[in-house]
Symmetry: C2
Subunit: 773 residues, 2 copies
């Protein structure tokens, strides 16, 4: 845990420069706009600890797999999110000294991520070895209006000297991924150009052949007036720059405006991409920095209008939730169905791949409730389009007849993760993809989706489950051997309760969905079963048999489900018994010790009870929560949110608040000591869930009715959140006295608040009495 | 399976050149002398499939670990057996054509490994593209008399032309390991020298800093007469050669003698190693090729005198056992206690490390029975010397108070394997190291070894087991969670029967050994317990409690021990049900499919019943054998030998013979389709066991008495093997009529044959009537 960032409702603030945490700060202060983005690194040279990272959505490299011992079925490559050309760089040299915060004295340092208006600002005074004092103010953003653009205003003021200052804005494509498996470079240069105050470079990724054109254009102002300057173009291998020499006087502010564009061949023909980059550049330089910044503020204000969650009385909690919402919006806009939500977004390059089960299990509900319905639908269609690859993936593992295993990690539908215990065995991901279809249909009421896309995916996943179980002669039940559940601190276990349950549930839901589609759209159904050779009677009978005879391990005495067979043989003890200094255990214990311990990385049985809560009574949830919560170390970012929601439901408000802070401030406080690699983007959706489903108690019943049962931690004054539901935009505002539901849409909506069914008129508000809990 | 090598009692013979299997042949025809060795590659250039490999004992490189995802406790490096300078190379050029069997027509090809006399010979006629026909005869050996030397006689005869032939003998140190993790080179050049017909090069390994000096000296004979020649020295980076131009006449034989030496800094000061190499060279060139070859033949004859096993009536079986004995003798001589028995010996570079549990479990009994007692003792002392590292290794995994976990793979005592399921979990290896102490003491009667070394190791291993188990409240017994047993086709299982059994056995044996040493050598005992802080009463009480309360899974109904908990939930089926073309399954199935299948890579429960056979009755063995044998795929080279021995014991002679052929001819017939990587050296000791313990029925009872109950397959005429036992050399000869035991030593020996106790006089022979079975 780290506490060096200031609490503030709208900003992330670092005062004083924390060199030792610089990579953490860079992650937290990342900027993005769904199309490109990068870490909150410095523009000027920095010789200390830094991970310069700039990323362009959808551009990846199939890095050669690195494994200790090759196993059949491993993918040949691991898709790396590519560190792309650094467009933020501006070197500053005064006489023979470089500005480098690692080697000079730093005064009055302040770095601020302004989430309300969407920019990053930094101020400091650098005292160089020569005694020269230089004041710097740098402001940067990735425009969400012009989503290929990024701009910087970098202002320098000599405080105690006059000098010629050399300013060198550059684009550097000679970058590597820190986590490249074989220290290879992933980019080749295609072409480069330099002109007066401008430079363009086009790079191509090896193997995948993506082209990315990056351009920059530089304007200079002194005393607020645009000035002409001498510019010396520089070209090195994969590097272009302009060296600009400026006479700077003591007390005079010189502002360097660096406009940049990043275009990728996902959207442009490589033949004309440089030309297009010039066009984009013209477009933004005509607008100019101030107008772009104004538009940026306006666009963020619009986003906050439908996305914001307001917590009164608890700045840390308020800052946490806004940080999560801000980063989610920076990562994924839902406008491009080829994209998905990478685990680090544009904040780092670890993990690789862009799509995990996180998308379905955690992110989908966020986008369902905060964005246009087509955004969530696009996320489902993304998987539908990769169904063929999922079938191929299952075939590689020996499955047949149209069985699909969706990849653990992917860029294009192919599996690209390579640890056998994850890749081959963490198959519950398949269940989450089925569950997302259910979740979407329930929330949106869009049953036609089943006929159009959903059922085909469900059948393919069900075929997988039917082949993956086997009949145990000893148990006279179906068992599922050799899996890894959501709790990755257990590998290759037999009968993971969660996996067995979601498998049986998928089969059950597929049976229902078949019936639904048959009656809803018989033509489509007939076409589908013919195309995928679905032998309805036989396959459904098998499914039904497995549903009825699936083995689900439990301890009847304790009244709890067992995470997997044999769990009770462990030395059971609470997390609080782990000796001080040994957490997180994944950074302190050897893997075998973790595996045989009782400690749980993330919600597993509880994940199941969360997804399928309507199938279990509250006392069952309580017994399982009481049993598992004390053994859960939450070393996955995806864990505390589920526990928080359940604690809310169980009335364990302190626990719910503790877990909420942990998920909301995971990166801000660096709980798991790994934020330096990047932020935990997908778990941020979980934070949102902890507020809306946890504190807000939002649910959609089997009958499609929306309900809320809000409460909030005792130190809060009020909580207000907005959600979209089937075309309506609603706001739920809870104070100590009452709950107000505002309906911004034109049609009335019937819903339940604290168990009371009410109808909120179109563009109306209803107040419901509130009993503080 | 491949059947292109000829059956022959003393030789391995390839007639016709099998390009497609060349790497297999290279492995099989490897040469070595315990000090250095290499694969049976060609001297002249070969552009086809080949793995040139030359290896120097004890010289290794700590290659940077390659893993998919780093886990705490992983070793930083993987010790690679180093491919060292190629000293065999002789390029042949005629006018502008190179001799290269991949590009010319090959006639009358024959490659022979002569195991009786210890050399490799190759003959062929090459028809070059120009039509020139060149006859070649090449003979090569690694001297077991001058163990730093290797020599080649390479004779060429133009059959249809006169020409200047350029002969370029060279030493090439610019070699890489094929399995280098990051394609790095591991050698740096220190110095090189060339002189008239000679060249020396000294290379140093990176990181480990081993120096190896390799030298060559060339002599030429034409028509059997030594001739002078012009020699042009060549030096490239890490490469030295002499280019020799010779006038060759049609029908005239030109013989190139290439003498080579390989000295390593294990035995020489790097400052003088080149000088020493010159001395060694002088020594062998003075002897000359013919004398060296004569000495080689004589030395091998001496080895065979005490090592040979003679099978009459079955050439394939005879060839198999001799091949195994030959390769074992080439790999390890027992003369240097710093060395051990690498899994590939000098025949390949895969796997890395020199020491596995194979040494204790399989090789020790071979050396106990065929070599001086000090050889086996040296193998135990090797582990004793690495006890400190084993304790460090356990500490890295969280164990304490002197607990030791010996490494899975090592060069110097440090663990250097890095798959968690093996490195951290295949802990039964610790048991084999304890068992080897027991085995050695029982066979040799050398109880003092316990006081001198053995007990300290036993206590350290027992401390590990005591900490590794945990008390299961559910079972009210001790359990061992998260292990991998000998059957590596199961990972991270709970309560592997073999591991639990050998752990409890170790604790039991340690309790006995404490009592033994206390009475045998109380002073040493007192010194030991003080030095290692052994709290006798407490530690022994804990051990006793675990012995009494260890959980050992079994199926009482079937009367079999369960390989691990949950085994009976699998879909049980015999290996014969695996569809054709899908074996070996490890080359055809994905890992998860293998793991959840019932198929067993190698003896696991049966391995335990083999080690501890006196603790189980024959019917128990039979039930377990009948249960597990049909599910065993024997895709480990270490498996068939155990099954063969047990089938012999159970009177299942056909099965015993089938398994014997499989172990004896594993590499000759390339059963597992992996001999191209090198031979399975350690399993060769298992082959020997299958003959001596299986067909010969040799045992040493708890009372130390030797016994035999020989039989043999019905197609054999006779079987004769020699063993050393407590100072005596015995031969057991079995025919269809009788068993003869010959005692070559001067003192009488009392032993049991077919249940009858006899005394064989010193230098006498006893005949025992034999009932064919």
């Amino acid at each position: 845990m780290k506490h060096y960032l200031q609490h503030d409702p709208w900003c992330i603030v670092e005062t004083d420069f924390h060199r030792e945490f610089n990579e953490v700060t860079e992650s937290v202060m990342s900027l993005g706009n769904g199309r490109h983005g990068g870490r909150g690194s410095f523009e000027e040279k920095y010789s200390g600890k830094t991970l310069q990272g700039n990323y362009v959505a959808g551009v990846y490299y199939p890095d050669k797999t690195r494994v200790g011992w090759w196993k059949n079925g491993y993918p040949e490559y691991f898709a790396k999110v590519l560190n792309a050309a650094n467009w933020i760089g501006i070197d500053i040299d005064i006489d023979y000294e470089s500005l480098d915060l690692n080697t000079c004295e730093v005064r009055d340092f302040r770095r601020v991520l302004n989430m309300q208006e969407g920019f990053l600002e930094r101020e400091f005074v650098a005292v160089l070895k020569s005694g020269k004092e230089l004041k710097v103010n740098a402001k940067r953003f990735c425009s969400i209006v012009d989503d290929e653009a990024g701009v910087i205003r970098y202002a320098i003021t000599p405080l105690n000297f006059d000098a010629k200052i050399t300013v060198t804005p550059y684009i550097d494509g000679a970058i590597r991924n820190r986590d490249a498996n074989y220290d290879e470079t992933f980019w080749d240069e295609v072409r480069k150009e330099t002109g007066y105050g401008e430079a363009f470079i086009e790079l191509r990724t090896r193997k995948t052949g993506f082209h990315v054109a990056t351009g920059m254009c530089v304007e200079i102002e002194q005393d607020g007036v645009k000035v002409d300057y001498q510019s010396q173009p520089i070209k090195y291998e994969k590097y272009v720059a302009n060296r600009i020499s400026l006479d700077c006087r003591q007390g005079q502010e010189t502002a360097v405006y660096k406009y940049a564009v990043n275009l990728s061949s996902l959207n442009y023909d490589p033949d004309t991409i440089i030309k297009e980059a010039h066009k984009s550049m013209q477009h933004i330089t005509r607008k100019g920095f101030e107008k772009m910044l104004l538009e940026q503020k306006q666009a963020w204000a619009d986003k906050w209008k439908t996305n914001d969650i307001v917590i009164d009385g608890d700045v840390a909690a308020q800052q946490g939730i806004r940080f999560n919402i801000f980063q989610l919006n920076q990562t994924y806009t839902g406008e491009d169905e080829r994209l998905n939500i990478g685990p680090k977004g544009f904040t780092g390059e670890k993990y690789g791949g862009s799509t995990y089960w996180d998308t379905e299990a955690y992110c989908l509900p966020f986008y369902l409730s905060t964005a246009d319905q087509k955004v969530a639908r696009n996320l489902l269609v993304y998987r539908y389009r990769q169904l063929g690859k999922a079938i191929e993936n299952a075939q590689k593992l020996g499955f047949r007849a149209g069985a699909a295993l969706y990849p653990m990690v992917t860029m294009n539908g192919e599996e690209c993760h390579n640890e056998w215990e994850i890749t081959f065995e963490e198959i519950h991901r398949n269940g989450a993809i089925a569950y997302a279809i259910f979740d979407y249909v329930r929330y949106s009421g869009d049953e036609q989706y089943l006929a159009d896309y959903g059922l085909e995916v469900l059948i393919a996943i069900s075929r997988f489950w039917s082949q993956r179980v086997n009949w145990s002669a000893a148990k006279q039940q179906y068992v599922m051997l050799g899996v890894t559940g959501p709790n990755e601190y257990e590998n290759n276990v037999n009968n993971n309760w969660y996996t067995n349950y979601i498998a049986a549930w998928t089969l059950r839901y597929t049976i229902e969905a078949v019936a639904k589609v048959k009656s809803l759209d018989p033509t489509k159904y007939a076409e589908l079963i013919d195309r995928i050779h679905f032998r309805e009677e036989k396959e459904l009978a098998t499914a039904q048999q497995i549903v009825e005879k699936m083995y689900l391990p439990e301890d009847r005495e304790r009244g709890v489900y067992l995470q997997q067979e044999g769990f009770l043989d462990k030395d059971l003890m609470p997390v609080s018994d782990i000796p001080k200094g040994q957490r997180p255990i994944n950074q302190n214990w050897s893997w075998d010790r973790i595996l045989r311990s009782c400690f749980i990385k993330q919600a597993d049985v509880l994940q199941g009870l969360y997804f399928f809560e309507e199938e279990f009574d509250t006392e069952t949830l309580r017994r399982n929560f009481d049993f598992y919560e004390p053994m859960t170390v939450h070393e996955s970012s995806l864990s505390p949110c589920v526990h928080s929601i359940q604690a809310s439901k169980l009335g364990m408000h302190d626990k719910a608040y503790e877990m909420y802070l942990r998920t909301a401030r995971l990166d801000l406080d660096d709980y798991n000591n790994d934020t330096e690699d990047g932020c935990h983007i997908t778990s941020m959706a979980g934070t949102w869930l902890a507020v809306v489903k946890g504190f807000g108690g939002m649910r959609v019943g089997a009958d499609g009715q929306l309900s809320f049962s809000p409460y909030f931690p005792s130190n809060w004054q009020s909580l207000a959140f907005k959600i979209r539901f089937q075309g309506s935009l609603l706001q739920v505002t809870t104070t100590q006295q009452n709950v107000a539901v505002t309906n911004f849409s034109s049609t009335p909506i019937r819903l339940s608040v604290l168990g009371k069914v009410i109808t909120v008129a179109g563009e109306g508000e209803e107040l419901v009495a509130f009993v503080p809990q």
